[in-house]
Amino acid sequence: MRQLNRLPTAGRTDQNKVLNFTFNGKGYQGVAGDTLASALLANGVDVVGRSFKYARPRGIFGHGPEEPNAIIQLGSGAATIPNLKATQVELYEGLEAASVNGWPSVNFDLMGLIGAFGRLMPPGFYYKTFMYPKKLWMTYEHFIRKAAGLGSSPTGRDPDSYEKLNQHCDVLVVGAGPAGLVAAREAARTGARVIIADEQSEFGGSLLASTQLIDGVPATQWVAEITDELGEFKNVQRLPRSTVFGYYDHNFLAILERVTDHLGISSASGPRQCMHRVRAAQVVLATGAFERPLVFAHNDIPGVMLASSVSTYVNRFGVAPGTRLVVATTNDNAYQTAIDWHHAGRSVVSVVDSRTGPSGDLVEQVRALGIQILEGHGLIEAVGGKRVRKALVAPINPEGSKVTGPVQRLACDLIASSGGWSAAIHLSSHTGAKPVWDDTIVSFRPGESKQKERSAGACRGTFGSLEGLREGASAGAEAAKLAGFGSGEVQFPTPVIDQIIEQPQQALFLVPHNKATSRAPSQFVDFQLDVSAAGIELAVLEGFESVEHVKRYTALGFGTDQGKLGNINGMAILANALGQDIAETGTTIFRPSYTPTTFGAIAGRDINQLFDPERYTAMHRWHVEKGAEFENVGQWKRPWYFPQRNETMQQAVDREGLAVRNSVGILDATTLGKIDIQGPDAAEFITRMYTNSYLKLAPGKCRYGVMLKEDGMIFDDGVCACLSENHYLMFTTTGGAAGVLSWLELWQQTEWPELQVYFTSVTDHWATATVTGPNARKVIAKVCQDIDLASESFGFMDWRDGTVAGVTARVFRISFTGELSYEVNAPAHYGRHVWEQLIEAGAEFNITPYGTETMHVLRAEKGFIIVGQDTDGSMTPADMNMNWVVGKNKVFSFIGKRSLERSDSIRENRKQLVGLKTLEPNTVLPEGAQIVNDPNQPIPMAMQGHVTSSYYSASLRHSIALAVVKGGLNRMGDIVYCPAADGASIAAEIVSSVFYDPTGKRQHV
């Protein structure tokens, strides 16, 4: 296929390297260095998409991130990418792309018929209709939603990986146009660490399409030289294809680097994209400016483009996107496009200038080329269907508000429009700096800096090349100085560049039409979302006066281009409708992302198994080998149960539980938090934190305690052991470990620094094996000879140091099962060794490893609570029937004590922990079931509480449950009901929460 519009001049492309690609299923050829957009234009593809609301045919309008129309779906399958802008997709061999809208095709879109009813869909039409009849709304919505969206999400897992780098630098330069390049060079020579990032595939910014000479050489050569020069500095990192997408607090910026996208392969060999998280001491913003389109009737027909884009396609890509050009402008700058077009050997029909008497250097050059200039004229309407055929031009008044003469028709197939330039103030706005309107440059400028940044060049509203270079250089030097490098003086001579004299531009945001705006053919402001000048005026008519209201009512700036083209025109039209000036009207806020950012890159490698650390105990591999099922407890993986052969969970749990009750079981309890506490005031401190007292706890002894928050609610529980005078070891719940440690530190460091006590986490140091059951002592005795295990000398709630399986260990006689129990703590490197030795020693007793589920059953049989399961942040010790653990006479008002005296804490019918026994013994109440007195009452029912824990108890041969019930402790023997989803309800009797061994004999043996 011939590339009709390919020029002999190559620009920055390599015409010898031909690349094949497809668009909407049809094959084309482009060349290396093309973007998808330039290649499509080279092939004369006019219609690339359909607009969002009216399904109007749309063509390529710009050449960079401002592109509103050429939104495409790249590739297919799991690697497809929705919503890329064709102007930013670098062409590669085999590229496949498709339009995102248009059915059955972009060229013939049935939805386009809707466009004919556009009048029925002004802004806000949804809000005014589809309300009646009420029950049809969800049907209407179904169809509204069907029309939603641009491209399609992949449906499979992303085949690519993404990288993240934390970067630190002294000076970050954003943008590698002329201003950015010289800024980076000035900063680099001071020795500062410099990063320079640019979104485009190569450095140079607007110079890549420039025909200017700098320092006597073509601009692109100058760019190549200075880019190489930067490369020689060790302290400079150059990042092309890197978009600075967000500027966050404390000079933190995020860059998305597209590492392999341009290669077009799913990168088996490395990350597709890399997100740089940059902490910069100083920042230079040199992000350039966007050309503003003129708003005229049917300015969205394919063949209407930005003037600078036409020049870019000609000069940089060697593509002429048409044959006969009309330039419509308000300024001198766009005359360059006429010159470029002319030099490309194509015909310039006319330059339509809204001003009278233009005479700048470029204007004169155009005149000298014999090109027609229509002064004081506006291009009021484009004519055409899928491509421009004519431009309607007419004289307009000097204010630009009225057509004052007859309409002329200019036959053409390309309209280049320029309404001036808008500084790219996006990143400065991210910081909260409030943009300032400047009438002289007809643009917003960056507001007063809120961060350590400055802008230079076009993004600061300095549109002259020489001034931009000067500004860039001094910004670079200044930034380096403030970061502690160099003198702040510019060192390199300012590049020599021809000065072009330009005349003032005209501020013209809406080209008048001979019909009123409301009646003229649509004059588009935001192309992607089909927001027209009439739409904005309508919003005002309806009373939406704030710029934010207009944005939200019309969707102006909501698109994937975030209003890079449309915002200023829209705001100016709004200001005009309100009779205000633009400064008064203000602007909407730019926020990250500067251009859209891949979720995968934001997530980085922290996905799948690396989403959150998995914490393992020293015995983890043993559990895996034995086929344990695991439960997530916080970040820990804990064995849940150990199924044998084809056992169900219930069967395994029954077996494990019976083993503990009848012989001996072993549990990996390593995950409990452990905090070493030392210091002369340790006992006093611990006593302040727990509800009970530790002042008299002797070495060798342990005590169970409950911790409250200051609001009186239970927050953690565990055993605390006195290791020696002034030395304690505190156990916390698995999930509470980190929270408890910082809680202790908080009180010691901020409230009672006078208390001398140190805390150190030893959770990881110790591996803990709980050996429990009537045969526990016999098992321990086999592997531990240096502790006297006799109950008289090593009693319940004692601990001893000793050697277990040859390892120095600490053994606690504490019990969460109600059986005789030993918790063996050994340094974790020996954790598996000790565990295996215990298993071996227990073999003759059929020692049975059990998991958290069995542990839960066993402790529930004993009525022991689990904080976080039986409590929920609204439970006091009294609610848990645990007043015995509250030291009422403690001298110091322990944390949370005062709250226990509030009227609500002492209220009569608070929910209290009780046991429930189902009348039908095999029925297990669902955990979370609600409890009512009368299951037949009407809804809403009066709920009395809920089931917190519920199991089948194999040793008791009936189900057991713990529940919290209003006034439950005074309701023993009452029958209550748990209504189920199916309408049935389960009856249960309120009983004591201790089901097993109520006197506690077994743990004391």
Binding site: K450, E710, T750, S893
Partner: protein
Amino acid sequence: MLLIYCPHCLEHREEEEFSYGGEAHIARPLNPEALSDEQWADYLFFRKNPRGIHHEMWYHAIGCRRYFNATRNTVTYEILETYKVGTQPQITGADV
């Protein structure tokens, strides 16, 4: 993401290393039992929550494990100073 100068580590560190500890300089009542429910509630739940200068606690959780105080502007998020527990801020001031 904030960059916070730890007065113990004597370095700026990333916010990810710290956890926020709430308003600073709230002394625990010496005799809670002597307080009315209202006074106790005031201590428990009521905070200044200013728009502007705020004295607040931070914990260098993944670092030196010390609590310290910071004076931060809650609108701009600028941290004007950090200082050790037990010392007073240099910067106080009316809300912005």
